[in-house]
Symmetry: C2
Subunit: 307 residues, 2 copies
């Protein structure tokens, strides 16, 4: 079964690792968020694409939840000692990838060409596509001012409440090559358990992608990133509480109005009435690979039920 | 005593570490070779300036002779795995410095401004000046073709014999701020035990620097990089044999015609008749810090003798 997945970083990557355990990895096309990409120390960093790449290639640090296993931090230590920009945590192994990516981009390759090269190099069978090759960046509006996403998320430790989110470059950006084709040929579209505002929102801010989901002839199933109204990691719950007015399944579904056929939610969030959207209840916490596989299987089953 | 030193990387750095043990480090101005600088993975690497910086700051790897102590190689491992440019050996700690330097250069700083910032950051008391802020690059002509220095030195393992050396950019390049002032105020000028062709040659290829040495009113003392006609490290002996016709003290002195008052040579190369240039014989192998100090003291004594 051909599956197209809209995904952010950490949570999405964990879900994807489960998904490629229950469907043929070669049938999975991942459309990854790039609006939290950041230029730091002259390097182009794509945190969400990299989380997906590392996790699916078995290179990720499961405990920390991001970055590479067996990582060291010597380059950034030196940067800090020399008074350079050390606010964004880049490990040594991770840096190697950013050096390669940045060099290729400077040489004129697009982000999707670079991503394809990296995918092949680490031996990933699934298709990994940046949502767009164009500049698209999330900004958050907070009581303390408007910040680029990573300045707020990493630099300020996402302490400020978020009043609004916008996606600079979205009107001009076009989906990367392969994105619309992946959506058109998919037998199932999945929205990974990622932050609706800063991971999935920027992907849906591209009009042709949103239009493709609205016009879909196949099921679209989202997995809620919340467990008992709380984010497993990150600020999704606080953002939903403030911007959607709550952290119930209906508030998550409200982020995807007109785009979903089913929402998979945790037992702790059931029951929920989502109107036209079928609510599927299971245990969503991906404590290990087996749990991630079960969650992916539930999403596939939900698709079958609404098909 | 104010000392200005023309220096390449490894051998020069070792000598300098000895020198700052016998004169006030604040009285030492180092004019470092930059013609073996290389852009690799989008980073500006200045191997000679860095060898000096690391060695004088006590950060260098004494055994390997270059790079940083306690170094790891994870970033470059990743680069290699991803099919990137991994021919130039950059350690993780070392990379941190190149990231900071490159970022500052891209921001519009000159190489001498960056070098000054790095010098302060590591707490070096001596003045460290790149010979020039302008693009100056050594090319070697070999039977296999003409190569940029690092392509030949690192990429091809300096296996090709060298027929000639030239310094691209030398006619247009001007000495970096402070270089001519350092030479003018010096009470002694020292040419470190570095390769005459690829370390000292590019510095002397800048006409105003050569003219300053020719017009000097203070002693200029060189230390031969050879021991028993052999280079301690690197290709200096093979280059001298082929381009100067031999590896005797007279061949080394011949690289600096009109610029020297004395040449310090190893016992294994004595006796030698150098004409107007006084030949000072000692043990030049810098097996440890004490040996480097003794060698530096001998160079100072030689200056006193010819003053």
């Amino acid at each position: 079964m051909k599956v197209a997945v809209l995904s952010g970083g950490v949570g999405g990557a964990r879900f994807l690792r489960g998904l490629v355990g229950v469907v043929d990895p070669a049938d999975v096309s991942i459309i990854g968020n790039v609006a939290d990409d950041v230029e730091v120390l002259g390097l182009h960093v794509s945190p969400d694409l990299d989380s997906i790449l590392y996790t699916l290639a078995g290179l990720g640090d499961d405990e920390r939840g991001w970055g590479r296993a067996g990582e060291t931090w010597h380059a950034l230590e030196t940067v800090a000692q020399l008074g350079g920009d050390a606010w964004f945590r880049l490990g040594d192994r991770d840096l190697g990838l950013h050096l390669v990516r940045t060099e290729l981009l400077r040489g004129g390759s697009t982000l999707s060409e670079v991503t394809e090269k990296l995918r092949r190099a680490v031996g990933l069978e699934s298709t990994l596509l940046p949502a767009t090759d164009d500049p698209l960046r999330t900004f958050v509006e907070t009581p303390a001012g408007t910040f680029p996403f990573q300045t707020w998320f990493v630099g300020r430790g996402h302490r400020d409440e978020v009043d609004d989110v916008h996606y600079a470059g979205a009107p001009q950006a076009t989906p990367a090559p392969g994105v619309l084709a992946a959506l058109a040929s998919a037998e199932l579209i999945v929205v990974a358990p990622s932050n609706p505002y800063v991971s999935i929102g920027p992907i849906l801010a591209l009009d042709p992608i949103r239009a493709a989901l609205e016009a879909r002839s196949v099921p679209c199933v989202a997995v809620s990133p919340l467990v008992g109204g709380r984010a497993v990691k990150g600020p999704a719950d606080r953002m939903l509480a403030r911007m959607a007015g709550g952290t119930r399944p209906a508030d998550v579904a409200g982020c995807y109005t007109g785009l979903l056929d089913a929402l998979v939610v945790d037992e702790a969030d059931a029951p929920a009435d989502l109107g036209d959207v079928r609510c599927v209840v299971t245990r969503t916490l991906m404590t290990d690979l087996e749990a991630a596989r079960r969650l992916a299987a539930t999403a596939l089953d939900a698709a079958g039920a609404v098909a």
